[in-house]
Every structure is written in structure tokens, then in C-alpha cells.
């Protein structure tokens, strides 16, 4: 069965649409409540995990960059493993930023739809507009830092629907019809791609527990890890990667690509 991933700046309308679609198609739902399970499973503080999903790391928030990347990888891993089950409507977990090129996954962004909130008072409306712009900027900064992708980029989605003119029920009808198309059925190949992405997320999650600057790709059980460090720590880092990945279930073959960390090297040579 297909998977629907929704992304929106208007959380209320997003939830309303997602729930209606899930109910209509008898799909399971995956939303922010799932963070409770992730927090329990990976022994993370629930409130802090919620913050990590919406803001970038900073000393003031007592959130280190290493912990931030690790907590995001936990979310990525758990969401991908849930999506492998298919027949699901997912929202509020930023899955549109890490689930890429899977043919049975329909990714839709919902924009606008704020007008009904404040039509009466002009000042209120202006304030509301400013708030929306501020939120959009924050989200863009967050998505770039976390996944190097702009959340508002229409290229990430199969469809972008403006809710200013198109009503909730019309969106629900359009999306339920689309999900019924044969081409959105989960096929062996697309499920395999999703499993590969889940495997890559599992490896990344394990590595980020103790290492930083990790990129992982997986295909048919072959995992490629790209990392960087100063030259003198090259062997040490590669060995550590091999040791950790060796314990991850599902890895058939491992390749480690190493790049020189020029910035740290330059900083060290200046000392």
C-alpha cells in the first residue's frame, strides 16, 4: 500500500487533512506522538527531542550539535522502519526531508490556509504574517542544518497545494484518489529502496553515538560510509567505523570513504 507524507507550515490544517485521509483509506498514522516512543526506545528526554525537531543546536538551549544529530538520526531510523510497513499517513516528523525517490511514497506540501485565522483586525493580521515569515525562516534554517535541504523547495515534493483557494475536503478527495493509482502501489523494488534507506539510517544512528561527520548510503546490503578527520587519525577513525558497523544487523559489505578535514588540519597547523 502507498505511503503519504505531508508537510505544512499550517499544523492544524495538516493534521485535519492527514487524519481524514487516514480514516478514509484505513491507513495507520505516524505523527509527533510517535516521538514519545522514540524517546523511550533510545532513552532520550522527550521534551529535548521535541526541541531538536524544531530548532538548531545552541549552548543556550543546552543542546550540543553531536546530540542534536544523534537525536535526529533516531527519529529518521524509527520513522523509516515504520514506513517500511506501508499503508501509512505520516506528518510532523520531517520525513519529507529524508525519504527520497521511493515510488510508492507520495510527498505533498500544503501551503497557505492562514487567512481564516485573522481577517478581522489589520494589525493582528500583520503580526500574524510576520510570525509566519519568522517561522518559515526558522524552518528553512533548521532543514538546511539538519538535512541540507530547503523545506519549502517544491522540488522535494510530488505536489504542492495552496490551501488559500482549495478547501480541506477537496484536498482530501484529490489525495485519496491519487493514492489509489496503480503506480503508487508498493512494489518489490520500491520497498527494497525504502529498506536500503532504513538500513543506512540504522548504520548512521549507531555511528553517531560516538562519532561525528558521518554520511551513509546503502544498496542491497552494501553500506558506504563517508567520513572525515585529520590525517593522523585516519586509520583510527576507519577502524572504529568498521568495528561499529560490523555489529549492525543487515550489513553485507562495508566501504569506508575518508576525506581529509582541511579546516581542522589548517587550524592545528597554525598552533
Amino acid at each position: 500500500m502507498p505511503v503519504l507524507i505531508l508537510s505544512s507550515e499550517n499544523k492544524e490544517r495538516e493534521r485535519e487533512i492527514a487524519e481524514k485521509i487516514a480514516q478514509k483509506l484505513s491507513y495507520t498514522t505516524l505523527n509527533e506522538q510517535f516521538l514519545n516512543r522514540i524517546a523511550d526506545k533510545h532513552i532520550l528526554e522527550r521534551k529535548k527531542l521535541g526541541n531538536a525537531m524544531g530548532s538548531t543546536p545552541s549552548i543556550l538551549k543546552r543542546m550540543s550539535e553531536k546530540w542534536w544529530h544523534y537525536s535526529l538520526s533516531c527519529v529518521e531510523l524509527e520513522v523509516l522502519e515504520q514506513l517500511v510497513e506501508d499503508g501509512c499517513v505520516c506528518w510532523g516528523l520531517s520525513a519529507h526531508l529524508y525519504v527520497m525517490v521511493i515510488s510508492h511514497v507520495l510527498k505533498v506540501r500544503l501551503i497557505g490556509g492562514h487567512d481564516s485565522i485573522s481577517q478581522s483586525d489589520r494589525h493582528k493580521k500583520d503580526r500574524h504574517k510576520k510570525e509566519i515569515v519568522r517561522q518559515q525562516r526558522n524552518r528553512e534554517r533548521w532543514s538546511m542544518a539538519a538535512f541540507n535541504r530547503k523545506e519549502a523547495d517544491p522540488g522535494l515534493y510530488d505536489m504542492v497545494i495552496n490551501l488559500d483557494q482549495i478547501q480541506t475536503d477537496e484536498v482530501v478527495n484529490t489525495l485519496t484518489t491519487t493514492l489509489g493509482y496503480q503506480r503508487f502501489k508498493a512494489m518489490t523494488y520500491s520497498t527494497k529502496n525504502l529498506k536500503d534507506q532504513a538500513l543506512a539510517a540504522r548504520v548512521k544512528n549507531q555511528l553517531l553515538k560516538s562519532l561525528t561527520d558521518i554520511h551513509v548510503q546503502a544498496q542491497n546490503g552494501t553500506v558506504v560510509v563517508t567520513t572525515s578527520s585529520v590525517k593522523r587519525e585516519r586509520l583510527k577513525k576507519i577502524e572504529k567505523v568498521k568495528e561499529i558497523v560490523g555489529h549492525v544487523k543487515g550489513v553485507g559489505y562495508l566501504e569506508v570513504h575518508w576525506n581529509k578535514d582541511i579546516m581542522t588540519e589548517a587550524a592545528m597547523s597554525c598552533r
Binding site: 515510488s103 507520495l106 506540501r109 501551503i111 497557505g112 519549502a152 523547495d153 517544491p154 522540488g155 515534493y157 510530488d158 505536489m159 504542492v160 497545494i161 495552496n162 488559500d164 483557494q165 482549495i166 478547501q167 477537496e170 484529490t174 491519487t178 493509482y181 503506480r183 503508487f184
Partner: protein
């Protein structure tokens, strides 16, 4: 009675989608015809107009307002052509030129770069050249929209619907657009028709003034025209003469000239 504008990148199948939508809804379809009509109406060579609407302004063009003048002409013709409704326009900048019409369904068709490159290669280009041409074209269009309208063509908030022809097929896109066009928000009510006519009047007057007075702004509501101009412009004989001629020609109810006030954002 909807107005549909389809914006597209090159080789994104937008043209084919527009043609099928027009055929399915039995609507009129136009793209380049707009340039032919504008060329005839304002006696400007087609190539010059085409360059104005396609290429981004150069360093010196910012001062001569040439592109702004041609755009005012094009917009005037476009608003006149769509005023009756039942139209699919798939030329450049339809979503920006008609952004004042709430009942215009603004659609963008996108496709991933790889499939666009393959389509371009069918014309005999090598992969490298095809990719370079498409990317250059995209960059030119982005630059043009940013310079003239201070907007990014990839900004989804400019559209009602953005469809990526990749997982979704051309036929799906046609289906979605037809379904959306049938929605109540895009029906041509008497109020919508009035707004389209008002916009057409405003653009018509702007087109007549823009060459001599590029800074003027024009708004029109219920056939009442408001022209915003600088004081020294508004008292010139030429200005008064043009407006008098327009008032007689297009049959507006009332005409007011406002000086010393900033041009409103919604003015053309």
C-alpha cells in the same frame, strides 16, 4: 469559466499538459499568440517583445525602463484576452501578470532535471549540452522574475498547485488541474468578471502612460480609475491628454488623479 495559467520550466511537459487541459475543458489556449497580438496592437517587433519577456534585464536596461514598458503592453493585452474567462495561458509569467485575479488558477508544472535533459537530448543535443542549456534557461528565468517582480519562480506560494511530472504522469496533472478549475473558488462569478474587467482597464491605462510616465500606478475598482503620479507629471499637458483620450475610449465611470501619495502595492 475559469482562467488557468500554467507556468513551466523548459522541457517539463507543461505545454502538453496545457494543451490537454484546454482540450478537455474546451477552453481557449494561448501562449505565443499573446506576443503576436501585443506586437500588432502596439506596433513593436515580435522579437523585441520576446526578448523583453524572456531575457533578464542587463546592467543598463535597469535605467531605460524598456522592459517595464514592454511588460505593461504585454500585460494590457493579456488582461484583455483573459477577461472573458475560459482560457488556458501557458506562456511566461502568467501567474505574475494575473496575480490580482483571485479566480485565476495558477499552476506550475515541474519535472526532475534528469527527465528534462533526456527530452532535450531527443532534439540532437549531447547530454552535457542539453543539461547546460536547460540550466542556463532556468537561471535566466529566475533572474528575470527576481529582477522584474522580486519573486522566485520556484516559490510555491505564487501558485495554487505545483505538480511534479515524475511519479505523477501528464494525464494525472491534467486531471488535477481540471478538477481544481471546477472548484467554486475558481468559478467566474459576476464579481470575478468585474475584477478581471477592472484589471484590464487599469492595465490599459498604464500601458498608455508608461512610456512617458514610467512611475505612475493605476488601480481600478467598479470602473472607477485612480491614477497615482508625481505632481510634476500630473500637471503636464501630455498626461492630461492621454487620460482624457483613455476615458473616452474605454468607457470608465470616474477618473481621479492622486499626487504626492505613495503608489499602493496593488496598483499596476
Amino acid at each position: 469559466m475559469a482562467i488557468i495559467t500554467i507556468s513551466r520550466g523548459s522541457y517539463s511537459m507543461g505545454k502538453a499538459v496545457a494543451e490537454q487541459v484546454a482540450q478537455k475543458l474546451k477552453y481557449g489556449l494561448f501562449s505565443r499568440d499573446l506576443l503576436f497580438k501585443t506586437s500588432d496592437r502596439f506596433d513593436i517587433p515580435q522579437k523585441t517583445l520576446e526578448k523583453a519577456i524572456h531575457d533578464a534585464p542587463g546592467v543598463f536596461e535597469g535605467y531605460s525602463h524598456t522592459k517595464a514598458i514592454y511588460l505593461a503592453y504585454i500585460r494590457s493585452t493579456l488582461t484583455e484576452m483573459v477577461a472573458g474567462g475560459n482560457i488556458v495561458y501557458h506562456g511566461l509569467a502568467g501567474h505574475l501578470l494575473l496575480n490580482r485575479l483571485p479566480h485565476a488558477l495558477k499552476v506550475r508544472i515541474t519535472a526532475n532535471l534528469e527527465s528534462r535533459v533526456i527530452r532535450k537530448m531527443r532534439e540532437g543535443f549531447t547530454e552535457q549540452k542539453a543539461r547546460a542549456r536547460i540550466m542556463e534557461d532556468d537561471a535566466q528565468r529566475r533572474k528575470w522574475t527576481k529582477k522584474i517582480y522580486h519573486a522566485d519562480p520556484n516559490d510555491a506560494s505564487l501558485y495554487d498547485l505545483v505538480i511534479c511530472i515524475d511519479k505523477l504522469s501528464k494525464e494525472d496533472a491534467v486531471e488535477f488541474i481540471c478538477q481544481s478549475a471546477a472548484r467554486k473558488a475558481f468559478e467566474s462569478t459576476s464579481d470575478h468578471i468585474r475584477q478581471a474587467r477592472d484589471l484590464s482597464f487599469a492595465c490599459h491605462v498604464k500601458a498608455s502612460l508608461v512610456e512617458s510616465f514610467p512611475g505612475v500606478g493605476v488601480t481600478c475598482e467598479y470602473g472607477n480609475l485612480l491614477v497615482y503620479a508625481a505632481q510634476k507629471e500630473a500637471y503636464t499637458v501630455k498626461f492630461k491628454k492621454i487620460l482624457a483620450a483613455q476615458k473616452e475610449q474605454i468607457g470608465i465611470h470616474n477618473l481621479e488623479v492622486h499626487t504626492g501619495v505613495p503608489v499602493p502595492v496593488h496598483a499596476v
